[in-house]
């Protein structure tokens, strides 16, 4: 694995304009800060896990990075080029290097196309001159690679199970041999045994093809299994980022500590005696986020300074970054 940085995201912000209920056309819109200043870098062959509760901006971040949603400001340097500044044509050409896998395996496949057509679509889009026989061969190869029988090419998505559909989605993402695959909760819709298969498949393909992955999930144990580094998001803000093992063993941010304490341990004795850190209240609105540290409204350690001043990102050694005034 080379240590070359392939993607560098700097201070990415994705805002949505939201009209309040019963708004008139001239009413000023609210601004929803879905992703508010996220930075990270990604090396070739590395997996970055992104965790956080529902609505914290995980999926928006992923879509903002590859411009499925327009970003407000920031930079996404992909192999040295800022994706956010490319024109449409160049961006479309770059898309073959970054592919995406989606949450709902069945919904991400066009029900009117058979899976051969679905898997071949990226090639037909980017290399329309490829002869048919070659496309067929490539489709068969990639199907074997993800564990599907190639004689199923003429079947339709509704004839497959969820796990198989996800494999089709992975095959579609792999066929152009991308450098990065963004996985947006790829296993959340699958049951546990299938989750393990899909995660292991991704891991195996990653080693084989030297892929980098951005892996979004809300299940911490899955993320721990696959990630080299993990980023914790809260209300569109980065809270902590660290190497996977480091984050699990020494979470420094109170939010991360609470998240990790909530992961069930498959041993009733340990589970029973485990100290559970409960966070009170709900996720605040991203339209009107708390001043200073966004987590302060629910933080057990909150003090006056948290409301007044937004905590800077501090390196606590080993590339373990945390945004908290009172981190451990």
């Amino acid at each position: 694995m080379s240590n070359e940085t392939i993607m560098k995201v700097e201070d990415l912000k994705v805002y949505f304009k939201v009209m309040p209920a019963g708004a008139m056309p001239w009413t000023k819109h609210h601004v929803l800060k879905a992703v508010d200043g996220v930075s990270f870098d990604l090396k070739a062959g590395e997996t970055l896990g992104i965790v956080g509760e529902s609505g914290c901006g995980k999926s928006t971040l992923a879509r903002g990075v590859i411009r499925l949603i327009p970003a407000e400001s920031g930079k996404v340097l992909w192999l040295g080029k800022d994706l956010l500044e490319l024109d449409h044509k160049e961006m479309r050409a770059r898309r073959q290097e970054v592919q995406m896998i989606f949450q709902d395996p069945l919904a991400s496949l066009d029900p009117r196309m058979n899976i051969g057509e679905i898997i071949a679509e990226p090639i037909k889009t980017h290399h329309p001159e490829t002869p048919k026989a070659e496309i067929k061969k490539m489709v068969e190869e990639v199907m074997v690679k993800v564990g599907l029988l190639p004689n199923l090419v003429n079947r339709y998505p509704h004839e497959f199970s969820g796990g198989q559909c996800q494999r089709i989605g992975i095959a579609r993402a792999l066929i152009l041999k991308p450098k990065l695959i963004i996985c947006d909760e790829p296993v959340s819709a699958l049951d546990v045994s299938i989750q393990a298969q899909v995660v292991n498949l991704l891991k195996e393909l990653q080693e084989e093809m030297g892929l980098a992955l951005i892996f979004i999930a809300h299940d911490l144990s899955v993320v721990k299994h696959i990630s080299t580094r993990i980023m914790v998001l809260y209300l569109g803000n980065m809270v902590e980022i660290a190497d996977s093992a480091d984050l699990y063993d020494r979470p420094r941010h109170p939010y991360t500590q609470a998240l990790i304490s909530a992961v069930p341990i498959p041993d009733p004795l340990i589970e029973k005696n485990k100290e559970l850190i409960l966070i009170k209240g709900d996720l605040p609105s991203a339209i009107n986020p708390p001043s200073g540290c966004v987590f302060r409204t629910r933080c057990p350690k909150a003090q006056d300074i948290c409301a007044a001043q937004k905590p800077e990102f501090k390196d606590t050694g080993n590339g373990h970054l945390v945004a908290c005034h009172f981190h451990d």
Partner: protein, 310 residues
């Protein structure tokens, strides 16, 4: 374990490579199967096919052409012009001594053509317009749909009649008039469907793969709309035929020597007092049976294509 499994699959794939690929059953094939189980729809389809065949084959059986006048009958249609195999007037004659059989054949051709061509224009324009408005969204969508609202607010029968009066009564004018107004409903329905399809993940997947907007509309959105469009189009055809009949009934539509179901019914209704009920009943029967068929087929298609009914 997974690696072992993969080797196994690769091995199996090799064994299977000699076999032909399994054919999948597309949603269309499923829908066709469900449609075939709907008796009313299948019977209607057969009857309609017969009517269409009749309109093409009919002239070869006719003894009298649609323009010939049977001088022997003229003026005394009530006593001599009744349906009969001896005189060769299978459906009787009208007051001028023209053969109703030939006139019905011709009227069927014209009416079906108005229905099908009108629906085709509506489907083509409406689908593209609605899909573009729905997919592009934002201000473009607002402007395009407000334009539809404005056009819809115009009383269309009034405009159509004015057009026919001002530009002369021709069948071409009728096509343009009906077709141009019928796409409005279609575009609204298609836009609504597009909005729901465009947020599905497979569209996002296509965008993430770098497929252009135009290709997304033609390759992903339109095929997924076709179910709704097909149902609506079959229900649109009888609507077109009805409109044309109404216009012809008013005397503004199809002009002599051409005719249509509406014009024939109008003539037949005008002479019903003189004991020549066949002049009304034959065209009316074709008209009613065809409309029934279209509606049953539309219903059958809707049941077959509606994903919620699965």
């Amino acid at each position: 374990m997974i690696v072992a499994e993969k080797n196994k699959i690769a091995e199996m794939a090799e064994n299977l490579s000699g076999l032909n690929a399994v054919d999948g059953r597309s949603l269309w094939a499923d829908a066709r199967r469900r449609f075939m189980h709907n008796k009313a729809a299948v019977v209607s389809l057969m009857v309609l096919t017969l009517i269409v065949l009749f309109s093409f084959v009919g002239p070869y059986f006719a003894v009298w052409s649609n323009e010939e006048i049977d001088w022997a009958v003229m003026g005394s249609a009530a006593s001599k012009g009744m349906p009969s195999f001896q005189t060769g007037h299978f459906f009787g004659t009208d007051d001028l001594g023209r053969d109703i059989f030939s006139r019905v054949v011709q009227g069927t051709q014209v009416s079906l053509m108005v229905g099908v061509v009108g629906a085709f224009i509506a489907v083509l324009v409406g689908t593209l317009y609605g899909a573009v408005a729905g997919y592009v969204g934002g201000r473009t969508d607002q402007i395009m749909m407000r334009l539809v609202d404005i056009l819809m607010a115009i009383p269309f029968m009034f405009v159509l009649i004015l057009m026919l009066v001002v530009f002369g009564r021709s069948i071409g004018m009728l096509f343009i008039g009906i077709g141009l107004l019928a796409w409005l409903d279609m575009s609204r329905i298609v836009r609504g469907q597009t909005l729901s399809i465009k947020n599905k993940e497979f569209i996002e997947a296509a965008r993430a793969a770098g497929v252009s907007s135009f290709k997304i509309i033609t390759r992903h959105i339109v095929p997924n709309l076709l179910g709704v469009v097909a149902v609506y189009a079959t229900l649109l055809v009888p609507g077109m035929i009805l409109t044309e009949s109404f216009i012809s009934f008013l005397g503004l539509g199809v002009q002599e020597p051409n005719t249509s179901w509406g014009a024939l019914i109008s003539e037949g209704a005008g002479t019903i007092r003189y004991d020549t009920e066949w002049q009304l009943l034959f065209p009316l029967a074709f008209f009613v049976v065809s409309l029934f068929c279209f509606y049953f087929i539309g219903d059958g298609l809707r049941d077959a294509l509606d994903p919620k009914d699965r």
